[in-house]
Amino acid sequence: MTTPPPPPKPLSSQEWETLIEDYNHGRLHRWTTYDYAGPPLVDLALSSILRKDFSLHLKQRLLIFLEEHSISLFTSPASLLRLLETLRLVIQSPNPNDAVSLSFSFKEQFLISTTSIFIVHGTFATADFETLEGLVELLLTIVNRPNHGIDRQTRAVACECLRELELAFPCLLSEIAAHIWGLCQSERTHAAQSYVLLLAAVIHSIVVYDKAPNVSILNASTPLFPFNVPRIFFENDKDGDDSDDIVGDDDEKNVSSASSNLKETNVRYKELRRVISFLLEWPQYLTCGGVLEFMRMTMPVANALELQASLLKVQFSGLIYTFDPLLCHAYLGMYLRLLDSFDGQEMEIANRLVLQSKELYLSYQNNVVFQLLSVHWLLGLIQLVIGRDVTKRKSFADVMSLSFYPAIFDPLALKSLKLDLAAYCSVLLDDFGTLKRYANGGTMTVEVGSEVSVVKLLEDGLMCVSGFKWLPPWSTETAVAFRTFHKFLVGTSSHSDLNESDSSSKRSPMELPIFCAIQGMLIESTLKFQGLVPLIVSFVDRLLGCYKHRWLGEWLLETFNESFIPKLNIDYKLGSYFPILERISANERVSPTGLLELLANYMVVLIKKHGPDTGLKSWCQGSKILGICRTMMIHHHSSSLFLGLSRLLAFACLYFPDLEVRDHARTYLRMLVCIPGKKLRDLLNIGEQLPGISPSTNSSSFFNLQSPRYHDPKKSRNISSYIHLERTVPLLVRQSWSLSLPVLRLDDDKQSLESFKDNKTTGEPKELDRSSSSIEIVSDINRISQLQEPLRVMDSKVSEMVGILRKHFASIPDFRHFPGLKIKIPCVLSFDSELFNHSVGTSIPSDSCGIDSLPAIYATVLKFSSSAPYGNIPSYHIPFLLGQPVKKDYSFSETNSLDIVPVGNGSAEDKRFKAHVMIELEPREPQPGVINVHIQTNADNSEIIQGQLHSIKVGIEDMFLKAIVPEDVPTEAVPNYCLDLFNALWEACGTSSSTGRETFVLKGGKGVAAISGTQSVKLLEVPFMSLIQAVQRCLAPFVVSVTGEPLINIVKGGEIIREVVWKDSDSDSLSEAPNPDARLDGGPLYIQYMDDENEKGPHLQISKRDMGCFLILIFLPPRFHLLFKMEVCDVSTLVRVRTDHWPCLAYVDELLEALFIE
């Protein structure tokens, strides 16, 4: 065995103070490490207590310290023994003369602390009950000197100690009850209270706990000394049962068994009755706390002895008339115990409590809390009584309703509790009415009197906080008033009553006058005082947030919608009502029509009133209106508000003075129109708050909005595998190549790309510019055409032709100064739901069906770029697009990359899965190319997806435009104009062009162009029918003339080529150009053509059966032309091609092959 550690050093008084402080604060660490803990510390403390140099105050503090921390300190039985020995020593020491009272109080404290420590540690598991016996004996010694004068207070304290021991270990003193009674009877000082209470405690345990030894209470059978712990404690302990301590609520149970036992032992019953009648003489001599303890002890006994309640009533009825709250409460406690025997007195008690709560500033220490308590007691009491006997409702209600008007100088807390009572009365009155209703066989004969008084109750009650209407919304009056509204409104429908929830919703609130009254009050005062708005809003929110009373909140909103909105004045003050309107708009059950109308009218007012000073206001109010619109879109079905809302938004887009508001309105309008309902709501819900748009009470949510997340770039790589952008009309020629013209690119001067130049010197458009630079540029282009013919004198025919050409070129816009000619490539954007979900990771609930289950992308931006000279390609925006459904078998979605998709294909539903995209090019050069497509879009989960899609190919046929017809040409003359133009151009592009040196002023007069023609031929060995079909299919718009009767006959019937010049071949008088039909048997042109072609073979097999000729004029932006003259025979067709842009011939060849041969 190791030697025990040396005892800790004694502490000075200062150190003790610190130690106690640290122990109380839980800062044990610094002491326990030095062993100032457990039994050694107890020893140290006890020895300090015996020291003479310590003040009695400190010693008392040490005792309390030991008491408070006894659980951690007294860990060994030896410490208890030591404590008891020290106590004996102190008690027996004489009092020093100088501090008699102090030393008395020190001794008293020692008794108390020791008892307390013994109680806390007292289990009878160990053999230390001997120490307990020692303590009890010591206490009994002190007690056993009744009427001894000087130490009467000490004796009282010792009694208290014994009583606590008895309470902690019931029946500990029951064997010596007779002695205690004897002491009680003889004690006449004020200490008698303690003796009486001790006796009461002993009797209480004898009656209540079964285990009391059967000894007489009147005659002492056992001597007082030596004291022995009764045997029953040891018996109990064998079970290891700690039930020696029985807490209060067991009383009732024990009492019932006890009373039956008592009856059997008749002698004992009589004894007990005698004791109790002795005790019942005492209450008036007891202090307030004493009375409470006394009643706690004697009530169960009286109950068990079946004493008449009237006996108790006589003794205690005065308590309710005292102004001591504790005594009143004690009386109420008795009342509650004996409800049956006090039957009929509840009104008296209730009245008494009413009066107590009315005590003005004289109430107990001027503190409102006791007034509040008495109101609470009253409420509790009424509930209890009514719970037992429903018939008392009416009498309570009538009395209470009149007595509970709050007084003007009542503190607000009291006012609010009194209003609670008023609300309770209203419930009682209402229920009474209901009862009556049922009594009359279910007919609705409501007792008018009571119903009216319910409303009056509310009105009168609220008068005391009438300031709530105009005081600032945060004032306490408003808080109290709205609390009362809530109580009245919610009324009887208690939250705990779950099955009532459906029935209450069935009952229309308008049936009840109280609802009408509240509604009226709220609406009226809100109209008058805007300060109430936030209160109303939070009131409604409170109801809406409740599972039980949601219907009330909704009802309130409905009534506001019906009765409040029409009464609102449409002026700037309307803005302060927006929080309410916001709530109304957020409620699905309320039709938004009225609100929309109001907002629209307000919008008009805002626009009308807008002026230089109201800019900020207009912005603010406008944004708020949009905020409400947004809320509506979130909460309502689009269909219900589409009409009104779209009108409102459109109006705002058009006329609202503030740019931002217009912008937002447009966004919302766009969303409303484009995005289907549920998606729209989900989308708007993502960011509950938009800055500056929707001020709502919860401003923090804006900051909680997740910042846009960028899609994982790795995932973006395969973005083109599930998002597809395809041409609506596939290209005829599938290969992609484009001729690059290095010559043109070499020149840094951008202007050299085009064969234009600015006509700087003159503003006269008709005047020809012959500056050197112009010639150089022109020659750049024209050097391919080898022929540099000298200027010729223009004959009339030429000048007519030049005139036509001038007119034509003058209508071609110069893209350097004007918006250029645009070509449009229709495309379709779509994406694959399954792959999209897989890739983006949005999880769509599997159980949802229909389009709601499909993913969507939002605010898609397609950006285009190209290396081809297509100018600046504007990006394309798609607000919303649904993914293509997976399971359904859409044939085009599987094979769409190859097949031609007719535009009109698919049902209406399909359109939701496809967005039409129009790529607009402004070509600088008519050449095929590739357009790169970049997509940026947002997924449902607000993830940003971006990446490159498959490129879009642009073919030469995309460049085909119809010739521009000047505005002054009448519609009926257009075909002839086109034919004339064709002829002129045909001539100009011919090798022997007489216009080679001519330049033509473009529209706007700044640029000029020259024509340098090239020609070519192509033999197409296809049957005439397929050729005609191909022409009709692809080139129909560009046909300017058809000649030859057979051809005309076929084509005219097709009705596809219309409004062209039809010319019979017989009457052909095209002298300016050789008619191929006429010269098929050979001619200079034919030969030349053969030379160019270098392929004589196929031609030779051509049947000579001419059918006619197509003249086709194609305009190639920015200012070029492509002319076909198709000489159709039955098995083959010769196409003569002329153009003023020679590079295009390369593509034309392939095009023709793709068009006709395949």
Binding site: H25, F104, G149, D249, L360, Y364, H376, I408, A479, C546
Partner: protein
């Protein structure tokens, strides 16, 4: 512990939220522990909330208290549910009494667990916060915990679990309030005995003449007329200022030893037995000597440890306070309430019974009568004609009464204040004093104060028909009758009209903290501000402007005083030559509401 009152612990916190004194009662704590053990045995695993026998250390308690203060907006909390209330907190329960009976969440740092303790009785006194934790049963605690964690819209009345039933069931809470109030008085040194003074002629009389009509004393004692020094009545302070629950500065240090010994005597084991400080301190001071013989033939009450020896006499003083709200408007009746108390000092030998006559109570419409515990009240209350009591030592409050019908106000009239411009107002008083009162009733002191807690007075022009005028920054005081020039036997008329100039109004931002309910500041700052010419009345404009930065008042105030314009009447008696019976009337809230302004009203009971 059905029906009993025991306290597990008491803490006293300083205004800096540090525990300056704490006391735990292990015996009570042991009961709580046993109850918890039993509860956990019977409750089984299904119960989500577990009660654990646990008492926080001083530091943990202070931390929890600070935490609650932060959460609930102020020391006492919101009291009723506001938008700031959170589930699980006291204000969620939505009852004003939760400002006084609070719950605390103790976070134990090391174990990482949180303990919920309730009911903690909170009493704010002087610079101290007094907290007491009475013993309840575990199921009470659980009920309350459920109540403040319910997710619904607030307690309704018919609820199965409600605070009222709990409080009715728990006298320990009531007892704990008594304890903390007494301790609060001790630590702040506010222990005062009820005042007993006497005057030669009743000033303003007892409004309730019948009470003072005649006094007969039965028993063995004879009244003895001996002068006693009466302290001057403390002047009624202006209650128009904003009451804050922040303790006032200038605290005296706590006398821990005095407190310690009081607690040891009053509630040795945590169960309060006797809260009478005067008795306990007398016993501490004097002890008992052999001279203190118990009376031979009768029991000595516990509340009277000493018996009086010496000259015998008995003194009564009736203090009455009138609360008046005068509107001078047709639609609002004036409200007058007189609350009275009869204080007594019986220096009588032995244990005599004294009978105090209550003649004519029936005709005087006495609404409320309540008595000292020493009075033997007949079974059916105070409808008897006398009350018999056995007087305790020293001064005590024998009974209280309240009357609101059929009394004439000693000062009657009206007050009008009309703002002629934003910073200038014209006012008019027309008062009649002592109308209908006859000699020997006299009015010794009467001033009328116009209070402007929210505006600074620059100057006040005007001469009253009687009396003098003193103006301060925030008030104008019209001293109609000052001491020594009492009015008796005649009614006088007093008028006072003039003009007031104020310092121009400046809007100040209401501090966001400090107000009980917090200002709702997230609302639009562009709250429609109209220019003054939009509003017809300058007064309305001003009122609207000024009400914007009004702060919320405590729930303990009757209404927001600052929102109204009014004048307050003060009357109180001068020091009088003592006789055995005196009666005096002081003014409580004696308010003349500005006839031209807003005024708070309450409906009156229509019997």
């Amino acid at each position: 512990m059905a029906g009993g009152c025991s306290i597990r612990a008491i803490w006293i916190l300083s205004s800096q939220d540090a525990v300056v004194y704490s006391r735990r009662f292990p015996v009570v704590e042991r009961r709580w522990r046993l109850a918890c053990d039993k509860e956990s045995q019977s409750a089984g695993a299904t119960d989500s909330l577990k009660v654990v026998p646990y008492l926080p250390t001083d530091s943990e308690l202070a931390a929890a208290f600070i935490d609650r203060k932060k959460r609930e907006g102020s020391v006492r909390g919101f009291g009723i549910r506001t938008s700031h209330s959170v589930k699980g907190s006291d204000s969620w329960v939505d009852d004003p009494i939760t400002r006084h009976i609070i719950s605390l969440n103790i976070d134990k740092e090391e174990q990482g667990e949180s303990h919920f303790i309730w009911p903690v009785i909170l009493h704010v006194k002087g610079p101290f916060y007094l907290l007491a934790l009475p013993l309840v049963e575990p199921h009470h605690l659980k009920t309350y915990a459920r109540m403040c964690n319910r997710s619904d819209c607030g307690n309704t009345i018919g609820e199965d679990e409600n605070l009222s039933s709990l409080l009715l069931d728990l006298p320990s809470i009531t007892g704990a309030f008594m304890v903390v109030h007494t301790i609060g008085d001790i630590v702040t040194g506010d222990i005062t005995e009820p005042e007993v003074v006497a005057s030669a002629s009743p000033s303003v009389g007892g409004l309730l003449d019948s009470l003072t009509g005649s006094i007969g004393i039965s028993g063995r004692a004879k009244p003895v007329a001996t002068p006693i020094a009466a302290s001057a009545t403390s002047s009624t302070s202006v209650s128009g200022t904003l009451a804050s629950d922040a303790p006032k500065i200038g605290s005296r240090s706590l006398d821990k030893d005095a407190l310690q010994s009081f607690i040891s005597s009053a509630m040795p084991f945590g169960t309060p037995m006797d809260l009478s400080y005067s008795n306990i301190s007398a016993m501490k001071m004097n002890g008992f000597s052999s001279v203190d013989v118990p009376s031979a033939d009768s029991k000595q009450p516990a509340w009277k440890p000493y018996l009086y020896r010496g000259k015998q006499r008995i003194l009564f003083t009736i203090h009455e306070t009138v609360h008046v709200a005068m509107y001078d408007r047709d639609e609002i009746p004036d409200s007058i309430t007189a609350s009275g108390q009869v204080n007594c000092r019986a220096e009588l030998e032995g244990l005599p019974d004294v009978s105090f006559p209550l003649t004519g109570l029936g005709s005087a419409h006495v609404e409320l009568l309540s008595f000292h515990p020493c009075a033997q009240v007949p079974e059916h209350g105070g409808d008897k004609h006398a009350v018999t009591f056995s007087p305790p030592l020293g001064n005590f409050l024998l009974m209280r009464y309240q009357v609101s019908d059929g009394i004439r106000p000693p000062v009657k009239g009206f007050y009008q204040l009309s703002m002629v411009s934003e910073n200038e107002g014209a006012f008019l008083f027309k008062l009649r004093l002592m109308e209908g009162y006859k000699t020997p009733l006299s009015l010794e002191f009467c001033t009328v104060t116009m209070l402007f807690p929210r505006r600074m007075v620059v100057s006040c022009d005007g001469t009253p028909s009687i009396g003098t005028v003193f103006s301060t920054e925030r008030s104008v005081e019209w001293r109609i009758i000052t001491s020594g020039r009492g009015v008796s036997g005649k009614s006088i008329e007093a008028t006072f009209s003039g003009t007031l100039k104020f310092v121009p109004w400046q809007t100040k931002k209401p501090p966001s903290s400090g107000s009980v309910f917090g200002s709702i500041d997230d609302e639009d700052s562009d709250f429609e501000t109209d220019s003054p010419n939009n509003i017809v009345n300058v007064e309305d404009f001003l009122a609207e402007k000024m009400s914007k930065d009004l702060q919320a008042v405590d729930l303990e105030e009757p209404f927001c005083w600052q929102a109204y314009s009014y004048a307050k009447v003060s009357i109180f008696p001068a020091v009088k030559a003592p006789v055995e019976l005196s009666a005096q009337v002081t003014s409580g809230e004696y308010i003349l509401w500005n006839t031209l302004g807003k005024c708070p009203v309450a409906a009156t009971r229509k019997a």
